[in-house]
């Protein structure tokens, strides 16, 4: 079982796949741990990438600082792991909390990686996200990890997926409760209490950036991804259709397809971010489709950008 030492802390990580090709580093979200990446990891390895995943400080088998966890420390851990991978194309993909760490790394050390993929990420904490985070923290404090997970499951996944996995959710919840420690989760959540927006620094990210967002993600909704698209010069926003916050878990094969395509395009010199907006294919192997021209990608209904006049009122309006 491989371990990494960073600032006197012990970090648990896993490596899988060929050691001589491009590599992809995966960064967890809150309550996740390395083994939850296995479906995505296996799909990436099958496509020829080496995958490095690790438990962030405070998660899984890595050390859990007792009182304070600083996000800079997480970035340092990521840097140590990337350094062990050597000189080759390295892509960094993080989800949610992990996306923030990926962005922080790209801001500070973007020259060491070939590309970055923030998934369900954010660079700011507006009131809605702040209040959700505060409520989740209160849930953790009052009801423990299980209550937090009870809230996170329906926030992260589609109803169809939850229904199809209904008989396994209890077991997954129990595993999550076993692996996570409340104080460590609380420390991770409280590392956002003094969060300074990353937005002013996003323009310094010069590495190719593919922003992945779930079509139905209400935890970190489209405006948060839009901030990334607008400020990161070589970025493209890719909307994963019918997906929620944790699409990496719900759609690992599709996510692997998207990540691999991104890596291939970057390495092949074909990547042109330019702030473009795309729809991800719904099936593995499908093509990216440009977001329909003239429509507003910030809306949930197909509103034309140039048709902002109020809709004509129905003649027989009942309301």
């Amino acid at each position: 079982m491989p371990w990494l030492a960073c600032n006197s802390r012990r970090i648990h990580y896993e490596l899988a796949g060929p050691a001589d090709g491009p590599a992809c580093v995966l960064i967890n979200g809150l309550t996740q741990y390395v083994r939850l990446w296995h479906p995505l990891r296996d799909a990436l390895v099958a496509r020829g990438l080496q995958v490095a995943s690790f438990d962030m400080l405070g998660q899984g088998q890595s050390d859990k600082p007792s009182l304070f966890i600083h996000q800079d420390d997480q970035v340092a851990v990521l840097g140590e792991l990337i350094a062990t991978l050597g000189e080759r194309p390295i892509f960094v993909a993080g989800i949610s909390f992990g996306a923030v760490i990926a962005l922080r790394y790209a801001i500070a050390h973007g020259h060491t990686i070939a590309g970055v993929v923030p998934m369900s990420g954010f660079a700011e904490i507006p009131a809605q996200l702040y209040m959700l985070g505060t409520a989740l923290r209160t849930a953790l404090i009052l009801g423990g990890t299980t209550f937090l997970q009870d809230l996170l499951f329906p926030m992260n996944f589609s109803g169809e997926w939850l229904e199809s996995k209904r008989d396994l959710i209890d077991i997954a919840r129990h595993r999550g409760w076993l692996v996570n420690d409340v104080y460590a989760l609380q420390n991770l959540m409280e590392s956002f209490l003094d969060f300074e927006p990353l937005t002013p620094q996003l323009s310094s990210i010069r590495t190719p950036t593919m922003i992945l967002t779930g079509e139905f993600d209400f935890l970190t909704p489209r405006p948060l991804q839009e901030t990334l698209r607008v400020h990161i010069p070589d970025s493209a926003l890719v909307i994963v259709q019918r997906a929620y916050h944790a699409f990496t878990l719900e759609k690992p094969e599709l996510t692997a397809h998207l990540l691999t395509r991104f890596a291939e395009d970057v390495m092949g010199g074909r990547w042109r971010g330019k702030g473009t907006i795309w729809l991800a294919p719904e099936e593995v192997g499908g093509d990216f489709v440009p977001f329909p021209a003239g429509f507003d990608h910030m809306r949930a209904i197909p509103v034309r950008k140039d048709a902002r006049e109020p809709a004509p009122r129905p003649e027989t309006a009942a309301l």
Partner: protein, 223 residues
């Protein structure tokens, strides 16, 4: 070594010698904390934070009472030696870098409480198939659940504004208490053939639970 209590007895209960050893440990640790809280608690409550101190003291007494009554005690000849070892570990320590004696005592008390309530997870040792009405098992769940709430007062104090000037000393004191409590807890569990880090290695069902598409492998078996 096992990750959980067991093997279970024929009636589904946790072996009495494991109950005895774990409960003795918990009574030693929570008893020490209750005594230290009693020392810090004045006869008349005059400050807001002393209300919380009183609540903490009462919860610890409740935990002790519950453990004493819910455990199937059996003779354990090693307990006198172990008790001496444990009690030595719980003695108050001065906090390096904090010159105010009273503040140092309170920081160490909170650090000990934080470590006790966060590192010690007796419910995480229960096997998945334990009887849902077993009093010892339910007591362990109650102790762990209450610990999460009790820990909040320690977190508020240790991360609070009045300790900002000595934050590094506080963090070091809490880390030291965590390491100490973890070492003693793990040592005690090793004596009853339990390796608590084994909880991280239970994965097949989780892996398949999050996999896309039709159930395969372990998921299919689980069904």
């Amino acid at each position: 070594m096992r990750a959980f209590f067991g093997p279970l007895e024929d009636d589904g209960s946790i072996p009495a010698h494991q109950q005895t050893r774990v409960s003795a440990f918990l009574m030693s640790a929570h008893g020490a904390l209750a005594r230290q809280l009693a020392t810090a608690l004045p006869g008349s409550v005059r400050s807001g934070w002393q209300v919380e101190l009183h609540s903490q003291f009462c919860r610890e007494i409740e935990i002790l009472s519950l453990i004493a009554r819910a455990t199937a005690w059996v003779p354990d000849p090693t307990l006198p030696f172990l008790f001496w070892q444990w009690e030595s570990a719980w003695l108050p320590h001065s906090v390096e870098g904090v010159t105010d004696g009273e503040q140092s005592f309170l920081i160490d008390l909170a650090a000990f409480g934080h470590a006790l309530h966060s590192v010690i997870r007796p419910a995480a040792l229960l096997p998945e198939d334990f009887p849902q009405t077993d009093p010892f098992a339910l007591a362990m769940r109650r102790v762990e659940f209450e610990s999460v709430r009790l820990m909040q007062a320690q977190i508020l104090f240790l991360k609070g504004p009045e300790l900002v000037p000595v934050r590094d000393a506080v963090a070091a004191a809490v880390e030291r208490r965590h390491a100490q409590v973890r070492e003693v807890w793990n040592g005690m569990l090793a004596g009853i053939e339990i390796e608590p880090s084994g909880r991280h290695l239970l994965v097949p069902v989780v892996k398949s639970a999050v996999a896309d598409g039709a159930p395969t492998g372990a998921a299919a078996k689980a069904r």
